[in-house]
Symmetry: C2
Subunit: 337 residues, 2 copies
């Protein structure tokens, strides 16, 4: 079941059995607004601080995925989850009440890909009948952690992305003949550092990692872009997408038609002032659970390569003049039936 | 192979094939000083910043584990690694040059337990022939991240622990009849929040999580403390140990003799002024790879329950008045032969 250098093909593909997406007001006003399960108008999610708000968001989304799937909480054996914050505080506090064994993950905005990689491996190996894979981000916690206090009202360059307030959670179950989508394979990324240093252009920092993982997936499975109905990156945004397409073209792969990006889909750039697109690990996770998985379920897309992309930005390393390495993890999602 | 609520027993136990430990000067002066592979006298590890120093430490330790095992780097299929810093910058930057697919993990000081849990699962399932599990911490990066600038020279209460400058890395390989130790089972912890808020007494914050995971291990495998030659927690220190023993006693388990703690073993409290003991994810990881594994290899201990413990402290959540939840992941290590 190992295949190639960094990929696994599952003989009995695990199945996404349930999904849930909860987002904030701005995301609800975007092109995918009607597709999310819940659009919360209160960006504080009823909590006292932004961080507690993001924790509440994770808790509510996990609960909703369990409820929508008509699953008992005690049947979820493991939780694979993460967020963008130092020491994963949204996840740590958000998952206490779930009382499920937790693997805390950090892959920046690639975290939903990392969670699906490990979650699918765990289920396919028979270690669990059901797991939850989940990732969240919150505009206000991310701005506070990585950039400026919101009250500064700082200007943003056009290359900047807008951190999505949102969370996506899926219940992954062992192989069966029905469900939302099958996870047929995975390609695990490695750190890629091209020396890129502009924290206001994260798409450019992540594009080389996305390129590397997609190339590796093609190589490991002996396929190319024609194998997929869609190749969907996490949050490259418009600038990252342009770089990815250029890199791919140098290897004779034409991705213009087949590629899209969650960060491009989630906001309307004309009207929402989000510049290069959406970002944050909640971007790929919530877009997966609202826009992508339903299209795989209804057969619009038969085969999708979902590639959440992460930029390992930290204020400490950035202030010390370090570059921003990237990572991307790919998940092969297929229509069932 | 699932067993009980949160444990796995491996039918063909993966084997720790190689190990490496690198620590700083202070750790080299402690009771385990002669057992570490390298005691680096330069706390900067030849780098320009503390964070780059910790990255260099990770890189050197991974390289040494590969070299000591006479293994080719390209035979390592995955890296499961983490550190204490926001956005895992020690790991992110430290592992770029390894060019190995990476699962970035955050479990605070329990990270080596999390890495061994997932690494052993991955190898036992046949997804990889060899993986590296690794965790690091650095006194100076941790103080900067969580407490005060070193130059303040702040006073520390006696309940405080001292973050270990150190890294431990193991190569875990598929089942075979020789090696340093077998990983026969694991018990994965969940977040435990008892409302504890004193960031200068992390042992107390982690003890409930250690208790929960050890109890779960006993229950899942139908064993008690008599089954193990040693039960070794990560970095509870003296105060956390006392609380753990009290908790266990309430459940009629007497751990006084069988229990020790990496944070207690690594420093000499009489002479090294480290107060309650060592901490940091490098504490459990470097003690494992210097003190614990050799004793399992030579048969001094036949069965060890290794339980790295993590306190999910963050300056943001702490400053907002939040408690410090804990988590602990257990690994069952056995003598081979």
């Amino acid at each position: 079941m190992q295949i190639g250098k960094a990929s696994i093909k599952f003989e009995e593909p695990p199945v996404i059995e349930s999904m849930a997406s909860i987002v904030g007001k701005k995301e609800g006003e975007g092109p995918l607004g009607k597709l999310f399960d819940v659009v919360e108008q209160d960006d504080m999610f009823g909590a006292d601080t932004w961080e507690q708000a993001e924790s509440a968001l994770q808790k509510q989304t996990a609960d909703l995925a369990i409820e929508k799937g008509d699953i008992r909480k005690k049947d979820i054996r493991y939780l694979f989850a993460g967020d963008l914050l130092g020491q994963l505080i949204a996840t740590s506090f958000g998952t206490v009440d779930l009382e499920i064994p937790l693997f805390g993950l950090y892959g920046a905005c690639s975290t939903m890909g990392e969670a699906l990689n490990l979650g699918a491996m765990t289920v396919a190996a028979g270690y669990a009948d059901k797991i939850i894979a989940m990732a969240s981000s919150h505009f206000a916690t991310a701005e506070k952690q990585f950039r400026f206090p919101l009250a500064y009202g700082n200007q943003r360059p056009f290359s900047a992305t807008w951190t999505v307030t949102g969370c996506g959670a899926v219940v992954v179950s062992k192989h069966k003949s029905e469900g939302i989508a099958a996870i047929t394979g995975i390609t695990t990324g490695r750190m890629v550092d091209m020396g890129y240093k502009d924290s206001m252009n994260m798409g450019a920092a992540m594009a080389p990692a996305a390129f590397h993982t997609i190339e590796q997936n093609f190589e490991d499975f002996g396929v190319d872009e024609s194998y997929y109905d869609k190749i969907i990156t996490g949050d490259l945004g418009e600038i990252g997408r342009t770089i990815l397409l250029d890199f791919m073209k140098n290897k004779d792969h034409v991705l213009e038609e087949v590629h899209t990006d969650c960060g491009i889909e989630i906001y309307d750039q004309e009207t929402q002032d989000t510049h290069a697109g959406g970002s944050g690990c909640g971007c790929a996770a919530s877009t997966l659970c609202s826009y992508i998985l339903p299209k795989i379920k209804d057969g619009t897309w038969k085969r999708v390569l979902f590639v959440p992309t992460g930029a390992l930005l930290s204020t400490v390393s950035f202030n010390e003049g370090q570059p921003i390495p990237g990572i991307a993890h790919a998940v092969m999602l297929e229509h069932i039936g």
